[in-house]
Symmetry: C2
Subunit: 138 residues, 2 copies
DNA sequence: ACAAATATGTAATAGTATTACAATAACAAT
DNA sequence: ATTGTTATTGTAATACTATTACATATTTGT
């Protein structure tokens, strides 16, 4: 890998297929859902999906939602690079809607805490579960 | 359930066995590891573990680590009640050590963010991945 | 004692992810 | 252009995590 940023043209065939499936979805997808969607494109085994996902996550183009065992395309064009400590998600437990955010104030308090306890922070998993605005209104 | 707090004497037989397995472990355990440890006490099926874990998590006596698919006994005596929005974990990717913390500053920024975007926060999943002090030293 | 609610036992199945091995394609350096 | 190297792909088998369904037993409240 010579470059440190990635766009679709950098991706291999399988990576591009998985990326496309996630980008055109309007929410998180499980690996096996992606597999089923890509069978018509020749996918036959879970590993084809997991390998592509591994790379896409590494590139910062895709995020894994730990509490959902699912994956979403990144909405922040700038997620590549050092933002693995900063991204957070809200997950509506009613409608399933997922929002991706970066909060400077959260990042700051998190990094402050890490420093305080001398923990060398590499990556943050922050998933806020609750009810979104729309569902509260309804 | 008439009371809102729980100690070991409130627990059923299976809940107490699972709680004890987690309490005497020095780190997170997977459900199936717990199952294996409790076979000698008569456990035979995953569901016996999962049902107990569900309750223990509900009581606030046990936390689930989403990024590890594992469970830990709560170290904060006060985790029962409204702290599901506040607890966070550091996970050392080298030695596997897990530390449970509550940071007022993190909680505050998180709640501030939730309010800002009108998200009704029920529960926070916060798992900080990195290298712990001991492993950095070594 | 009885009904209702809670807890348990067991089997089967569903969902998620990895290991192992073989083959192919991409690519840099001679 | 060939060779050696690395990255990617294909495929099968397996391991790990979690839930559904159904039967039985225990506890609790009246």
């Amino acid at each position: 890998m010579t470059k440190h940023t990635h766009d679709v043209s950098d991706l291999t065939k399988n990576q591009a297929l998985v990326m496309n499936a996630l980008s055109s979805a309007n929410g998180p997808l499980s690996a096996y859902t992606i597999l089923d969607e890509l069978r018509e494109h020749g996918f036959r085994a879970p590993l084809q999906v997991y390998r592509a996902l591994d790379k896409l996550v590494e590139f910062g183009l895709v995020h894994r939602l730990e509490s959902l065992n699912a994956f979403v395309a990144c909405r922040h064009p700038s997620c590549e690079g050092e933002s693995k400590e900063a991204v957070l998600f809200t997950i509506c437990e009613k409608c399933g809607n997922v929002q991706e955010l970066i909060s400077e104030s959260v990042v700051k308090s998190l990094k402050g805490l890490a420093e305080e306890i001398e923990f060398s922070l590499k990556e943050s998993v922050i998933e806020l579960r609750g009810i979104c605005t729309d569902c509260k209104a309804a």
